[in-house]
Subunit: 507 residues, 2 copies
């Protein structure tokens, strides 16, 4: 077969699998938002069927033949060309997937889907024993998956690779070690800070529907296209790509807290913008369209949530709108009150509600625990105890309910081990990109204070989103910022902000 | 292959297609309720892919071989056995489907899916010219479909067969002719009635959310299980079966009308109860679980909407609840005011808002027009004119906007020609079953006045829902009521009610 014909066939096949995958995404979105309790088993069967089909199509020996025909040809001479990039990544995924028997893939998908309902109930009742037997099964499946895929030094690497391609857990351990030391010092300084913002201003009764209206209008200002997506309510915030023009954000709002709902919404909008500003839709369904890693994707959500959404310029622009929506609650408040309250730093129980200083400590804890679970060094029954004792060490807090501890996150419920570290990597990438954006786009703070986010969105689109998977995460970082990933930009960013708000000094 | 093994394989295959079909239903439900505008093309591609797969699986020559192996065996000796019923209906569908090339099936599905958005826009702007080119294409596809499937006397029969198996349009024409004559006479009597109810009581401002709460609580009283389904808002009411325990009702409420939202909701609950009380879920995905025809399914929705939901006993029970929700609007109202207003009869423009007396005239008009379109006797461009002139003849009203005329219904937008007559058949079946239920269940009115709908629901479950497709619609009717379908029970029912409310006399 001619290489060009092989590529045509290959691309057609891959777009078919991507199309089917986007159908699975609708089922998964619905499961998080709307699925009735009694329909959970049927949903698991549906997802299992789609996983099986996807796997069969993707691992067809013809796919291997097409790949080989192209890999030996001039079509891949330029490593940055569409063909070379797509073939490189499809090969990686193909070699990974063919090692998994189809029965295993279906079993994993069904177990993962069923896990959502079981976890959800366990969390509601704060009863780990409800979740434990299913988690045991999921961990066993993950270990089998790692064994099937293969690994050099530890099983966890095989799982991590799904979310952060070509990154090893030892590397993450290293970069986390440096970050941890500096973050612990920062958190300690803030605990003894000469001044603190007033958190009470955002802890008043706030009408849920008006919170929603505000968050969705901020989304529109950032560039979220309400004709190519929508917001729905769910227990756990997320952004679901159901198609090239169909980004579904799930959020929730709290009646006595102005920050949690809004920051979750701006976070998910950041994810959505990744796809929405990936303007070359002809690449949809191929690596040229996709992100290099979840860490890179997360860098975008964190940037919009934190670097933009918790910035002073943001509140300069949005404070009057917020005040008009909540005239009684915010009658006496100022821009700096909101800016300060949204940057309240205090160790707390819930990851998704954590401030920027302590957030990464939540991640490190999860990374260590899940790595040890997969290694077999922590038994399922010991998870709550391990969680709680480490939490006390890292964040100085006693966990009293597992719902606020090891049951708080959705990830393990569908077998997503290896996902958590991408959050902390995302924070570091975000800060490094943000520092670069300040250099490349002079006057950006003035734009934001005027409610204009076009230049930043355009810069991100060009520098990151439209690059697709042309480069690995590490390479992309170097190309955009001229430097390897480091935790220093994150520290610089945090100190600049907290020196202003808390009156601390770095030296 | 042994017949028993063939049946095992066949059933497995058919359940796989049913599982995939339930995934397509989610996509279709989402399309009606939530799909963003720009995602319509992608959704069409997704549905096209699933249609193609379903068709490939269903028309596999192995399916034909399995069917043949069973048909020649003792397994089908008892025509009412599971095997005989399933094989009989799968054979009918198989023989139909194998005549359709897969490319045609996918093209039809994509055109049908795209039609929704185009129709929706045309309706919003009340501009038939927006919809006409796409409708032209859909009609052409329907005619091709009929030619591929084959027919004896007219193309329309091949389409009708999909919704009312083994029924011919000439039969429908006959039964409609008798009904039309009697309905026209009834409507004329009501126009000259000695007294009329007061419609103003339900045409006041009614909070949408409280209307929704009331309708959903009525659904729960009827037996709708909110753990196995949910209600969502949409432009067009519908009931979507996404799985054996997952009934999704779509409804809408109007700010100045108490009847439209509630009656649409009770109607869709009637459809949902069909599935929800089909208690033997092991049959899910096979004809033993399914309805004999859409007319039979519709009989259930009409019974709960009309025979129950517009009855005096219903309002005896629910009036106090309604009054508590709307104390200002209903301060002076009585049970009979609500009962009368919900049975207001007056020719009107919109089918789904029509009263019980005029409703079937809306259907007959559609049946005649769509039959003539498929026969080639009415050109696409002439549809609005034909619609409006016939509407004037049948209902005495001038249609001023196509949105209130030929653009009002969703059905043609996805190529569902042959669907409309099932509504009028449903009304007739409903009345005939209802008359039988009165005989079999003495004191039913007292149950309903006490808010207890269990006996009726149980009777319907046993007599109809749990019969699945054991019998054809016509046979089922005779078995349950001891008589062939007739329009007399509907007339009897309507006169009994309208004599009471309007003071008319039948003789």
């Amino acid at each position: 077969m001619k290489p060009q014909d092989a590529y045509t066939e290959l691309k057609k096949r891959m777009r078919e699998t991507a199309l089917l995958g986007s159908t699975a995404s609708i089922l998964y979105w619905d499961q998080q938002a709307y699925l009735p309790k009694k329909a959970e088993d049927h949903r698991a069967e549906q997802l299992g069927q789609l996983s099986r089909l996807d796997h069969e199509w993707f691992t067809d020996t013809k796919v291997g033949d097409w790949l080989s025909a192209i890999e030996d040809s001039d079509l891949v001479a330029d490593p940055e060309s569409e063909v070379a990039v797509n073939v490189r990544e499809w090969r990686r995924l193909y070699d990974r997937e063919v090692k998994l028997p189809v029965e295993f893939v279906e079993e994993f998908a069904i177990a993962g889907s069923k896990g959502h309902g079981i976890w959800s109930e366990a969390r509601k009742k704060s009863d780990f024993s409800i979740f434990a037997p299913h988690l045991e099964k999921l961990v066993e499946l993950c270990r089998r998956k790692a064994d099937l895929i293969g690994f050099r030094t530890e099983r966890y690497d095989a799982l991590l690779d799904e979310f952060e391609p070509r990154v090893k857990s030892a590397e993450i351990e290293n970069v986390f070690a440096g970050l941890r030391k500096d973050l612990v010092a920062l958190v300690a300084k803030i605990a003894d800070a000469p001044r603190r913002p007033n958190i009470d201003v955002i802890h008043q009764p706030f009408d849920l529907d008006r919170q929603r209206i505000f968050a969705e209008s901020v989304g529109a200002a950032f560039g979220f296209d309400h004709l190519a997506g929508r917001f729905d309510p769910a227990q756990h915030p997320s952004c679901n790509a159901l198609g090239p023009h169909d980004m579904r954000i799930l959020t929730r709002y709290y009646p006595n807290d102005l920050a949690e709902g809004l920051t979750a919404a701006t976070h998910e909008v950041g994810h959505a913008l990744y796809d929405l500003t990936q303007t070359d839709k002809t690449h949809w369904g191929t690596p040229m369209y996709e992100t290099a890693s979840l860490g890179i994707h997360e860098s975008q959500s964190r940037m919009w949530e934190n670097m933009v959404g918790r910035s002073r310029p943001f509140w300069v622009h949005f404070f009057p709108q917020m005040q008009r929506l909540f005239p009684e609650q915010l009658a006496e408040a100022t821009v700096d009150d909101l800016y300060g309250a949204f940057n309240w730093v205090k160790p707390s129980l819930i990851r998704v509600e954590a401030d920027e200083a302590t957030y990464n400590l939540h991640i490190m804890l999860r990374f260590e625990i899940e790595r040890a679970i997969i290694a077999g060094d922590i038994a399922i029954k010991d998870i709550p105890g391990e969680w709680n004792s480490r939490f006390k060490t890292y964040l100085g807090i006693d966990v009293e309910r597992d719902a606020d501890g090891c049951l708080q996150d959705i990830h393990w419920s569908d077998g997503s081990f290896g996902y958590f570290p991408t959050y902390a990597l995302g924070n570091m990438y975000a800060a490094q990109y943000w520092a670069q954006a300040q250099k490349d786009l002079p006057g950006l703070a003035d734009d934001h204070a005027a409610g204009n986010f076009d230049r930043l969105r355009g810069w991100l689109s060009e520098k990151i989103h439209r690059q697709g998977f042309k480069y690995d995460a590490a390479d992309l970082c170097e190309r955009v910022t001229g430097a390897k990933l480091s935790h220093q930009p994150l520290l610089d960013y945090l100190y600049a902000k907290y020196e202003e708000i808390y009156g601390i000094t770095r030296a």
